[in-house]
């Protein structure tokens, strides 16, 4: 399933009766997201912000047509809730929770692959198609429609950059948080494919960080397949090796996933890499003007 949402995308919220679940349900509804049902075992029949609550995903899918699900569920229960969603035919599943055991993440991603479900996260802020629908916990205000597609491994850093772009009058098409864990469902490359196809997107911003090889793989793909301009910012240049920098995935291990290696790969693929965050809007503006005439 494409990560580009529409205003008719039918969303369900698992864990809707919890503090985070109910708060963000309200936030998402305010943004315009079409939340058709919530799930919370034992709370069937209640409502949260007028959204009906079901005991099972089965009921939310069969009774209310849920296609996409977002989980506000504590880490020990994520595996069960995620597999429940996948098993019941959810095609796009957003896992916000941090600290999910890595074995559970592996198991649920393997099952998702079997069933053709796209997993966003774990440990992500979610995703948004600006002006149409937002799934997750990103603040509403910065996501104004525009030509820039954003893919990021970090939440607040995305808000920072999306906010800075918005301040310069540059809006966003879709913004996708890959998640900060070592193992997440999506690579940059998976979203780049969607954004390259998406007519609303004229330029792609990648917000990466040290650790893993998602940026390097993306660079190879961009070089061969991507026509739209790409701008990147990478966090963690000054991080010491072997230390986990907040995100479980932000760690340079055995000399792999270094800042320098990623910058080199991206630059060789024609990606403009900003050295510091505040350079991003001006580089984006320049490339938009030069390459798309905007």
């Amino acid at each position: 399933m494409s990560i580009v949402l529409t205003e008719s995308t039918k969303v369900i919220v698992q864990g809707i009766t919890g503090k985070q679940g109910s708060f963000h349900t309200e936030q998402m509804l305010q943004y315009g997201t079409r939340i058709v049902a919530g799930v919370s075992p034992g709370h069937g029949g209640e409502t949260i912000s007028e959204v009906p609550v079901c005991n099972t995903v089965k009921e939310a899918v069969e009774g209310f047509g849920g296609e996409v699900s977002v989980l506000f569920v504590p880490a020990p229960f994520v595996k069960d809730a995620a597999i429940e969603a996948i098993h019941n035919g959810i095609k796009l599943l957003v896992l916000l929770t941090e600290h999910v055991p890595i074995k559970d993440t592996i198991a649920l991603i393997a099952y998702a692959k079997q069933k053709g479900t796209t997993i966003v996260g774990p440990n992500t802020f979610g995703l948004a198609t600006s002006g149409l629908s937002k799934i997750g916990i990103a603040p509403n205000r910065y996501f104004v429609p525009g030509p820039v597609g954003v893919i990021s491994r970090s939440g607040t850093l995305s808000y920072e950059i999306v906010g800075a772009l918005a301040a310069e009058g540059i809006g966003t098409s879709s913004v996708v948080g890959l998640g900060g864990d070592r193992i997440v469902g999506l690579d940059f490359i998976d979203v780049i494919k969607d954004l390259e196809q998406d007519p609303s997107t004229k330029l792609i911003v990648m917000i990466g960080e040290i650790g893993g090889s998602a940026e390097e793989k993306a660079a190879t793909y961009i070089k061969q397949h991507v026509k739209k301009p790409v701008v990147a910012y990478l966090a963690g240049k000054s991080a010491p090796p072997g230390k986990t920098m907040g995100h479980a995935g932000a760690i340079v291990e055995r000399g792999k996933g270094t800042f320098e290696g990623k910058v080199k790969a991206l630059e060789q693929a024609g990606v403009s890499v900003a050295t510091v965050t505040f350079e991003v809007p001006s580089i984006v503006a320049l490339r938009l003007q030069n390459e798309t005439g905007m």
């Binding site: 020990p76 055991p101 890595i102 970090s154 607040t156 995305s158 960080e209 893993g212 966090a235 055995r254």
Partner: protein, 373 residues
Amino acid sequence: MKLHEYMGKDLFQRYGIPIPKGQVAFTPEQAAETTARLGDVVIKSQILSGKRGKAGGIRFTKDPVEAARITDELIGSDLRGFIVQAVLVEEKLAIEKEYYLAVTIDRENRCPVILASASGGMDIEEVDPSLIVTYLVDPTIGLMPFMVREISEALALPSELQKQFQDLLQKLFALFSELDAELVEINPLVQSGAELIAADAKITIDEDALYRQKDLPSVEERSAAEASAKDLGLAFVDLEGDIGVMANGAGITMATLDLIDYYGGAAANFLDAGGGAGEEATTKALELVLERKPNAILINIFGGITRCDDVARAIASVKRKKSIEVPLVVRLVGTNQEEGWDILSEVGIQPFSAMHEAAKSAVELAARERGSV
């Protein structure tokens, strides 16, 4: 969570993986006793780092008196930045050949991976990748006997060792999987006579799964500050510089560190106060940063779920309670920004809007502070 070698070997034993005869010793007497029992022994410092040998942390003897002396010398000593708390006294093995064997997690393929090499005994990073067998394990079926046969084949393992290897790797994988490990490594896996024996044990357990692994020993490798941050649910890393940092979100915190670096400064710590930190959490986070006695403090908040007024109140209250003597630079934007700025101005702080300007200011103020000390 990394486990000490002797703990790893206890787990190996529980899973039926052959280990050398031996005993952990916390005192010279215990080491002497084990040496008297085993004869030719190796005495290995128990620290959470490799390369102990080069640092003098591994010794040989057959004399119990000598063993006690060595142990007395090692325990309490500093090896590569770690204080030795215990030694492992083990029979010295007759080594025919050294293999490398590990199970860990492959990020890119999202599955467990087995690494095996006939070039064991040295750091795996130093082994030519062409000499390492890398085998991805499909998580939907786990490790099956045929996979071990494929690995044996790729390793060109002598046929007389294949049955043992099969058995050992199945058990090692079971341990990895059942104990929520991120890494189990045997280096070297020694062929001694006709037997395969795990001469070392390196095990790392997934911290996020510790809640369901109650039977494991507990090892604390964090600094006191890192540990208390962890207790508060904050991500904290001690660093070498002098600018205390607090921000909300891992990515923005890293970016803040990078900006400090860009302007020629150096951060004293990494502290991610979380995406939705309230007044109390922010207060405690700030106190942690203060304890590091930095030359300046940079707070970088991009409020989304985090409310600027909460953060401002926390800063103000800390500033009122404790006299903060170092410069405090705050960048504060987002939800309830105006209220936040008002609160801060009451305690004499003029916040920034742009994070790079705040970072630049913090670097300059820290330099001035350093100069004035």
